[in-house]
């Protein structure tokens, strides 16, 4: 298929996934900030969504203080912030619009109506509706889009490029969520298992819809090591890093071309490290270092996809 079309499909899915993950992070931040009683510490929580999306600097350039209202607006509705839910929805729709012939009309309608509804949204309406219910809505639209994609699209290259976008974006996002919270996951010398810690950990689980999965898998109280093991190494949890990389690797294997061997190899290497990795080794080497390395590897795979599929060169 045409590289431009493949690229549009890939980015369409990435932006939908990104909007959903931003909603997840904001939602969990909002809930956690309600637990903290001291206002100064409350605001501390709002650094997390900015660091996760790497938008601390652009935010600081336009806002004086990091607080709930400012960050919520910046991350949800600010058209000028390319990572905002608003901007992601716009990008997803623009990418879909350029390839309407390659997606089903139901897929187009979901993205189009999401965008139209979002344009009617402002800060007051968002607060009136309830912060959490706004994020629920964003997640629902993303679920709907994924369901419609799964249920209506022919399993051709177009489908595979759309799925590749979803999984690479999600792998990246789950790693970022963990990375920002790594300090609360590190074994502390102080009392372990205090109430606040417990809420923090369960909030991380809930932000990736993995709370019930944790209980089923471990039948145990939430501990940081098991939590990290679940989100990094578990192979059957749809938002775990292992699962996403496995999906991306399988897709890459399916769509491979003459120029994609190196990209496939990198994805395979990453997959092997997740398949055979041990959580104790990861903690011994440092969780933060591990996640930084993982983000670097997924970025390399993304760049490889860009180069080998979207900008193919003639080999002399």
């Amino acid at each position: 298929m045409l590289s431009r079309v493949a690229s549009n499909l890939y980015w369409m899915s990435r932006y939908v996934e990104r909007a959903e993950n931003t909603a997840r992070v904001l939602d969990v931040t909002w809930r956690m900030s309600l637990l903290v009683k001291e206002p100064r510490l409350q605001d501390q929580e709002w650094y997390a969504p900015l660091s996760i999306t790497g938008t601390l600097f652009p935010f600081a350039g336009r806002h004086n203080e990091v607080c709930a209202r400012e960050v919520l607006h910046f991350m949800a509705l600010d058209p000028e912030n390319p990572s905002s839910i608003y901007a992601c929805a716009r990008q997803a729709r623009e990418n879909a619009r350029a390839v309407r012939g390659s997606i089903t009309s139901e897929m187009w309608e979901v993205l189009n109506s999401t965008w139209l509804e979002l344009q009617q949204m402002d800060e007051d309406k968002m607060l009136m509706r309830g912060i959490s219910s706004f994020f629920e809505w964003v997640k629902d639209r993303s679920h709907l889009f994924r369901g419609v994609t799964f249920g209506t699209m022919r399993r051709d290259d177009a489908y595979h490029f759309a799925r590749l976008g979803t999984h690479l974006e999600r792998a990246d996002n789950t790693a970022r969520i963990l990375d920002v919270k790594y300090h609360v996951l590190l074994p502390s010398v102080k009392e372990v298992g205090g109430a606040v810690d417990y809420y923090q950990w369960s909030a991380v689980l809930r932000s990736v819809s993995a709370f019930e999965a944790y209980r089923k898998v471990y039948r145990d109280v939430v501990t940081p090591i098991k939590l990290a093991e679940l989100l990094i190494l578990r192979d059957d949890l749809p938002r775990s890093m292992h699962f996403c990389v496995k999906q991306a690797f399988d897709t890459l294997n399916y769509i491979k071309n003459d120029q994609s061997q190196e990209t496939l190899r990198k994805a395979g290497l990453l997959l092997a490290s997740l398949q055979y990795g041990k959580i104790s080794d990861i903690f011994a080497a440092g969780l933060h270092e591990y996640l930084t390395g993982f983000l670097k590897s997924t970025l390399e795979v993304s760049n490889g996809v860009q180069k080998s599929f979207f900008a193919p060169m003639l080999q002399e």
Partner: protein, 471 residues
Amino acid sequence: MPPIELYNEMYTGDRKVRSHYAAFADWLRETSPERIAQNRHAADLLFHRVGITFAVYGEASGTERLIPFDIVPHVIPGQDWDVLSRGLTQRVTALNRFLHDVYHGQEILRDGVIPYDQVTNNAQFRREMIGVDVPGGVYAHVAGVDIVKNADGQYYVLEDNLRTPSGVSYMLENRKMMMRLFPELFAQQTIRPVDHYPDLLLETLKEISALGTPDPTIVVLTPGHFNSAYFEHAFLAQQMGVELVEGQDLFVQNNTVFMRTTQGPQRVDVIYRRIDDDFLDPRAFRPDSMLGVPGLLDAYRAGRVTLANAIGTGVADDKSMYPFVPDMIRYYLHEEPILNNVPTYVLHKASDLEYVLENLAELVVKEAQGSGGYGMLVGPTATRDERERYRQRIIDAPERFIAQPTLRLSVVPTFCGTELAERHIDLRPYVLTGSHTRFVPGGLTRVALREGSLVVNSSQGGGVKDTWVVD
């Protein structure tokens, strides 16, 4: 203006139904107004759902409108069409011979049939094409020839569109719609089918591949989804099963055109391009074009890729060249023209100019380079003020204009509100030329929906009808 009897395609002067309209007239008589209203409503809904829209220039960007569709068909007797199709073949063949000639020996100019400066001073004459051999010597592979019937019952060619004529998707969608709404009418009589147009187009494009490869790679090149005819570009690509590409999807290396695909670069043999010459190659033509492909002209001149239509066809469909088409037919084919030309005044001739300025109220004046019905003066319906302003434009640059007597275009009953009213129409058949000429019978019928209006362009409030060639 004296009331002149208009030619009504459906009824004779004494209100008798013409025989080729008999089946439809019966249906119209026997069907309740409710059912008719229901059918018209159904047509609107379906067109909306399919999304057959066109963008309108000069309105807020991104304006998409539905092209109005009328359920009363334009019916043409089979024997009329047989004459028309012979005339169209003759005309397009001569035009292709002319294009080959002006870019090679220029014999028609040397023999004094057409003045040199008519061609060489024409902005559409592409010097880059001189001496370039195109496959089969064919330049206009897809031609849209606008035909009208005058009050005298005779067919006239209004203009030849040899660049990137559009509208064929409406022809196909109109037919699909009519077959859904009136299956019984299609069962009762033989209406010649048109739905195989995409197959004929594909066959034509395959034939003109430069290398004669049995299975050439064909693409449709579009300016993108902001273009008014984007729907049609996507539709034709999809119907032919070929890729719809934008300029950025193609690149040229070693004089060969490739498209960027996820399986690597793929060689392209034939480009059905819906981009004007000026925008095709920023290296050769307009350097600011973002739509084109750098190096395309060189690849084309080297015979490594075929463009349909060829570069430089505009020199033959220009309104200032139109008066010479009957001479081309006689010169190249040694035949008398089958289709009539409208008598045309060329305003750079002093005698013609004088006549036109004196008779502005009876004439239609057009810009030689214009299209889409923009910037023309319809003398009889214009106000005095409009005529005087136009007169000044003519005096300022007479060479930019041509004038013709106002034709009394034929009318077809058309729904306006709930009533039928007479509205003017024209017909655009699409003529395909590869190793030979191909058609589907009929073409796109356009109708001027405003009362008395002679301008049928969709951008000027025109609508469309299905065209039936019946036996």
